[in-house]
Symmetry: C2
Subunit: 190 residues, 2 copies
Amino acid sequence: MRVLGIDPGLTRCGLGVVEGTVGRPPTLVAVGVARTPAELDPARRLVQIERAVQDWLAEHRPEVVTIERVFAQHNVQTVMGTAQAAGVAMLVAARAGLPVVLHTPSEVKAAITGSGRADKRQVGEMVTRILRLPEAPRPADAADALALAICHLWRGGAAGRYADAVAGASRPTNGYAAAVAAHARGGRKA
Amino acid sequence: MRVLGIDPGLTRCGLGVVEGTVGRPPTLVAVGVARTPAELDPARRLVQIERAVQDWLAEHRPEVVTIERVFAQHNVQTVMGTAQAAGVAMLVAARAGLPVVLHTPSEVKAAITGSGRADKRQVGEMVTRILRLPEAPRPADAADALALAICHLWRGGAAGRYADAVAGASRPTNGYAAAVAAHARGGRKA
């Protein structure tokens, strides 16, 4: 299962692709950040984000896209831009026929570090260790995108794929239905 | 100047097109609501909103798109869906090369009713009167979209077009540049 994780944002949008199969540690496929200039009109920044996500889908062909769920807690204007960027990322993935799954920051932290209250540094260190990288991916948005993808593999994807294998199902050809089903199964007991 | 106003939302997205020229009251071109089913995956609801906005642009050929600015005040999960829908509407308009202008709810209320704290009913009544409609457009999202479009005409568009006329400029052929310039001029003294 190949997963694209997206940490949405207007200024920096983290993108990370991870691949995993049952019984093997996940591996890094690609990681990066899409940046858009602050002086550009917000609507035009969203067009650049659309293009970046489209490019990543075309180049890395993930089977699932997972995006960080945005909460309106602190800085209101930043959060609105982040939610708009998340909406565009969701749109692009859904338009490509891929399942889109949102995970909360605390779900990701708990899956990666064992604690829902881990800080950015701890998440970065665990991502580095899990993917056996020479150093932590920078900026933090890139590491967060990988953490999201790993979280998705561990919470749903791998368990679902395993359930498919046990049930005698072959590699899913209908990516959307199969991955959603896998997620639903994995979600119950991940 | 023809303006498409969008009151964004996942469940109901209000769409209203209004046309205005200097010295004449604005006229209704089209009004409606795009609905997406609550049981559908949010990412797929955004794809339906994208299609609806694209259809409205193709059918009614506005020169400017104005969208209600979303604030994170109350119901957090609804607001996030609204912000995602707004992001998709902004994206579609920008991709079509159109200027995208956000107006706050109180700017719209003040422009239409004279008070930034007017309620939905008052806004609906004034929209009905301004556009000389037989009855108030329903649901409220449709009336709000028209109010946004009228607000934009009055705050920026008409003044800009007037300035163009005074300066001896002909009907703008470069819709984007002309409308942005018009908005910038109109914005100073609307």
